[in-house]
Amino acid sequence: MTGDVATSVGRDPHAAADALLTETLKAAVRAGTEPDFVAALRAEARAVLETAGFPKPKDEAWRFTPLGSVLRVGYRPAKAASDGTAIALQQAAFSLPGASRVLLVNGIPHLVGGTCSGASVEVGTLADALSTSPASVAPYLGKIAPLGDGFAAQNAALFTDGLVIVAKAGAPEQTVHVVHASTQGSSDGPTLSTPRLLVIAERGSALRLIETDVGRGPLTHLENSVTEIAIGDSARVTHIRVGERARPAARVAQIAVRQGRGSRYESRVFALGGALERHYLRVLLDGDGAECSLDGLYLSGEGELVAHHTWVDHAVPGCTSRQRYKGILDGDGVAVFDGTVVVRRGAVRTAAHQENRNLLLSGNAVVHAKPHLEIDADDVKCSHGATVGRLDPNELFYLRSRGLELELARSLLTYSFAREVVRAVDDPVLERILEDRIAARLPDGLRAKELA
C-alpha cells in the first residue's frame, strides 16, 4: 500500500524528496502570543528540522521503516472539521460505559467541555490551557517527549491545539476515552495532522486513558502524534490504544512517559495494520518503586508495515518493567520490534523483562526483532527474548485429527496467540471489539473465535 502512495505521488510534478520538509517549515507556527516556553519549543523544533530534517534511511531507529514515499509527499495541515462532521464522527464512534469521551478530528479537539469534565479528572484543550493557565502545563509540555527526530520536531512545530487531561491528586479511577478521526476535503491535497496529548496524573490518582479511531481515515494522510504522560508519585495510568486498520496512510506516534515514585503505567497497544505505522514508546522510570507493564499486539499483512520501538529507562533503583509484544505477520507484511532497556548506574534492584514473539503465517513476511539491554548497575534482574516462528505443526495436526479443517485450525491457533494480549486489556467491551477485529482478519476467523 505504500506503493499506492508512491504511485499517486509520482504523478505529481511538484513531488520532491524534501517535499514534506518544505511544507512543514512553511506551515510552522510563528512565535506570537504564545508563552515563552512554547516559543522556545517551536524554535528548537525548527532548528531540528533545519539541521537534521527527517530521518534518513541510515538512521538506526528508522533503518527498517522506509520513509521515501512519505517524505516525498507535500502533506499540508488538515483543515478543522465542521461541527456537522464532528457530530457525525462522534455518533459513529463506540462508547464505553462510564467513560468521558472526547473527539479529536485531525488532532483538533471537538465537543470538549461540560459533559466530559468530571470533578476529579479535567479534560480541556491545549489551546485553552496555554492561554489561561500556561504555568499548569509548562513543567510537562515538550519536557517529557524529546525532539529526537524530525517527526517529533514536526509535531512540536505544527500543533495548534490538543488535549490536556489532568487526574487530580488522589482521584479515584476515571476513564477518558479519546476518539481520533482524520478527514480530508475533496479539494484538499495530501493532509497531515499532529495530535498532541498531555496527560498529567497527579500524586495518588488513577486514570484509564483509552484511545480509539473512528473511520478508516483519508487515503493520503500523515498522522504524527505526540503524547506526553506525567505520572506522579503513587499514581496509576492504564493506557489502551486500539488502532483501526489504517488506509494507505502513514502513522507515526511518539508516547513519552515519566513516572514518579511508586507509580504504575500500563500500556496496551493494538496496531492492527496499516501501510506504515510506527509507535515509539519511551518510559522514564524516575522514582523508586515505579513499575511499567507494556503489552503490544500487531498485525501486519500484505503491503503493510508496523513498527514498535520501545525505550525503557531505569534511572533510579528499585523499578520494575515488563514488556510483552506479540506480532502476527501475513502476506508480505513487515514488522519491527526494537526494544531497548537501559539500567543506569546505581539503579540497583531493577527488574526488567522483555519478550517479543512473532508468528509468521507466510513465507514472504519479514520481522526485524531487535531486543537490546544496556545494564550499568549491579544487583539487577533482566531478561529478554525474541522469537520468530510458525504455527506449531503438532498443534495443527492435533486439531485436524479431531475433524477441524486446516484453515480453521490455523485461524484458531493464530487467534489464541493474539488473545493472550487482548485479555490483558481487562475490559469486556474493548476485548470484544478487539476480538472481532482480529477474527475479521483471519480466514474463517469468526468460527475460530467461537472455539477459543
Binding site: P393, E395, R400, S401, R402, S416, E450
Partner: protein, 253 residues
C-alpha cells in the same frame, strides 16, 4: 474395515515400516506390541495422517477407500481416531468448544444433524462420567496444566465424544500409574462395540491385562513378525523381544 498391505514408510529419509500387513475387522481389538523403535508410533501416525511420514510402497484401505489419500480431518470425519501418545497442550483453545466443532464436523460428514450447545453438553457430561474425567478439566483450555493421566483420560473422553469406527491408541499406558491405567482402560472397554475396531499400541503387557485384545501382533523392525491370540502378549512379557533377534535391535528409533 482396515486392510494394510505391504506398507513401507520413510521418516526423514529412513525406512521405518518395511512391509507391514495388518487386517482389522469391525468389533475387533488388536494389540500391536514391539520394542522401542520398531515402528509402532509410525504406524499410528501414518494411519492418522501426520505430515512427515512418506509412504513409499503399499496401501491402506479403510472400508474399501484409500485412507492415505485423505487429509487428517477427513480421516477423522470418516471415523478414524488417534489417541495421542503425547497430547498437545494449547492454552488458548477451549477443550469443549473445540471438541464440539470436531463432533459437529463428524456429524455433518455423516449426514447427521449438528448438536446444539445444550445437547452437546448433555452428551459431554454423560461421556465424562463414562471415562471418569473431572468436568472441571473439560472446561479448561485444551490439556492445559493437565497431569499425564488427565491428558490420557481427556483423549479417551474425546474418543467417546467423536464415536470413531477405528480407534488407534498410541502408547496410551505410557506415563500412567496403576490407578490411572485402570481407569483409562475401563473407559476404553466401555467404548468397545460390535461396529468399532481398535488398535492398541503398547510396549508392555500391563495395559492388555485391562484391555483384553482379540489379536496380538508383534512389530519388529518395521514389520509384523508374529501374530496370535491374547496369550502371545504374556509370552512376550516373559521372554522379551530378544528372540526376534537382530531385527529387534537394528531398527532405528
Amino acid at each position: 474395515m482396515l486392510e494394510i498391505e505391504n506398507l513401507h514408510v520413510n521418516v526423514a529419509g529412513k525406512e521405518i515400516l518395511r512391509g507391514l500387513d495388518l487386517s482389522v475387522k469391525a468389533g475387533e481389538v488388536h494389540a500391536v506390541m514391539g520394542p522401542n523403535g520398531s515402528g509402532k508410533s509410525t504406524l499410528a501416525n501414518v494411519l492418522a495422517g501426520r505430515d512427515g511420514y512418506e509412504v513409499t510402497k503399499g496401501a491402506v484401505r479403510y472400508f474399501g477407500k484409500d485412507l492415505l489419500a485423505m487429509p487428517p480431518e477427513v480421516r477423522a470425519r470418516e471415523g478414524v481416531f488417534l489417541a495421542f501418545q503425547y497430547p498437545v497442550e494449547i492454552a488458548g483453545v477451549s477443550n469443549l468448544y473445540f471438541l464440539k466443532a470436531g463432533v459437529n464436523a463428524v456429524r455433518r460428514h455423516r449426514g447427521e444433524p449438528e448438536l446444539d450447545a445444550m445437547d452437546f453438553m448433555k452428551l459431554a457430561r454423560q461421556r465424562m462420567k463414562l471415562v471418569e474425567l473431572e468436568p472441571k478439566l473439560a472446561e479448561r483450555p485444551l490439556n492445559s496444566g493437565f497431569s499425564g493421566g488427565e491428558k490420557k483420560r481427556n483423549e479417551i473422553f474425546q474418543m467417546a465424544m467423536l464415536e470413531p469406527r477405528l480407534a488407534v491408541l498410541d502408547e496410551t499406558d505410557s506415563g500412567l500409574d496403576i490407578d490411572a491405567l485402570r481407569s483409562v482402560a475401563s473407559g476404553v472397554n466401555a467404548l468397545r462395540s460390535a461396529d468399532r475396531a481398535m488398535i492398541v499400541i503398547t510396549h508392555y503387557q500391563r495395559l492388555l491385562d485391562h484391555i483384553v485384545p482379540d489379536r496380538v501382533h508383534v512389530l519388529v523392525g518395521g514389520a509384523i513378525v508374529e501374530s496370535g491370540d491374547k496369550t502371545l502378549s504374556g509370552k512376550l512379557e516373559d521372554e522379551g523381544y530378544a528372540r526376534f533377534g537382530e531385527r529387534a535391535g537394528a531398527a532405528p528409533q
